[in-house]
Symmetry: C2
Subunit: 237 residues, 2 copies
DNA sequence: GAGTGGTCTAGACCACCCT
DNA sequence: GGGTGGTCTAGACCACTCC
């Protein structure tokens, strides 16, 4: 029921959304289990099914539930992965990688311009990063100079960036990061099974190495509710 | 018009959204100016006004437009502020601050637990950070030990955290950051005039100082499309 | 075949802004 | 008063899943 204090001058769909969110946070609705159907909720709350749908869609947008047509609406389990950037290395040693594509491509993301990327086409290696038995964690697009050795490309296709460099015995000279949030592109949204436009936490990077001519650009992005970054800075002296 | 290649198996409201987004990116619709009304677009595209509204609401969710009831729907100007964290200091010297509230409060955000915050109530100073002539940039909640001097509280009420410490002549020993994205709470959404649940880029911090007993916790959050962080890491040797 | 969520439409009412 | 976006409803159709 929508009680007056829940209502509190909000619109109906907002009140419904809040009540459903309360139930999720109370544990009345459990993770990975379906909540009652639209029709059931409609009669329980005494509001139109459309209003229920509206509330559910907003709950999807904030990452609280996932709706699967024909099955039901499920409470999302909240688990964030933490990456520590204090030493510049994003530790992903135990992560699995699935290669998605390798293609010649220009770097087009406007946020990338900060790193003064090459204007010519680069070799773009796209891959998914995940842990066994878990939904995909991140999607990485690595841009390499088109004339790099095939052995190097293979390593980048199979490992996260810093792990690939480690295996190749290439030393890092400098890393620049840009962390921002941006909405998911259509293709990325499909991969993660999230609504189009879902916010992604992104880490754009430029890695310069001691190997002559080897500078790596890239973007690692993850659904905003799956990842966070930590950073520790000691003051000098 | 919704051309077949724009349609491309998408749902109607997705096609409409994409077409409107194209027009914004092409410059056909200009920043800070209203786009045609729902009714106009409805007849132009030959779809129901409801479908137009759906597309517009999704465009609001991704930060492309702002709708103002009674006035129209306006193209949002995209301007991101960049904060460099390389030296641990978030440079906000020229920013203005508006104090929102000072209250006794417990730290309740679950993401904060990483810093092992005190369980007791703290003094919470909430403020808005903005640049003259611009929409608000960020919202900061600083948690101080309840027994700090009033002079210190005043400085934190009037300046961003690191600027306040600088003015007070207090040295920083260590800073820990946690960067994540989370959805806006109701109150924050009102302050920024963004839809409820809008994604915010957050930086949680714990600052330890050389002044005995003075450890500062806090959360600085900004609409995801207004802020980004950069970080540069030199390799040793 | 029954139940699920997703889409699209039609129509009504409201609060708000501007002139 | 006429235009705007926001809300809520009713009803229909579809694709999908599960039994």
């Amino acid at each position: 029921m929508i009680t007056p204090q829940l209502r509190a001058s909000r619109s109906l769909h907002e009140s419904v959304r809040q009540e459903l969110l309360n139930r999720i946070q109370n544990g009345a609705y459990l993770p990975n289990l379906p909540i009652p159907s639209t029709a059931t909720l409609s009669s329980e709350f005494g509001v139109s099914p459309i209003t229920i749908k509206r509330a559910l869609r907003d709950l999807q947008a904030i990452g609280a539930v996932t709706a699967i047509a024909g099955k039901g609406t499920f409470v999302k389990e909240q688990r964030r992965f933490l990456i520590d950037l204090s030493d510049g290395i994003a530790h992903l040693e135990t992560a699995n990688v699935r290669l998605m594509s390798i293609a010649n491509e220009k770097i087009s993301d406007p946020a990338m311009e900060m790193f003064n990327p090459p204007g010519e086409a680069t070799l773009c290696v796209r891959k998914m990063i995940f842990f066994a038995g878990e939904p995909p964690l991140a999607y990485d697009s690595t841009y390499l100079s088109p004339d790099v050795d095939e052995a190097i490309i293979d390593k980048f296709a199979a490992r996260p960036v810093t792990e690939a460099l480690g295996r190749l015995g290439i030393r890092i000279r400098n890393i620049s990061y840009l962390i921002d949030a941006s909405t998911a592109a259509r293709k990325v949204a499909e991969i993660f099974a999230i609504p189009n436009g879902y916010p992604m936490l992104r880490r754009l990077y430029k890695v310069t190495t001691t190997k002559k001519g080897l500078t790596i650009f890239g973007i690692l992005q993850a659904p905003f509710d799956r990842l966070s970054y930590s950073l520790n800075i000691q003051s000098e002296n």
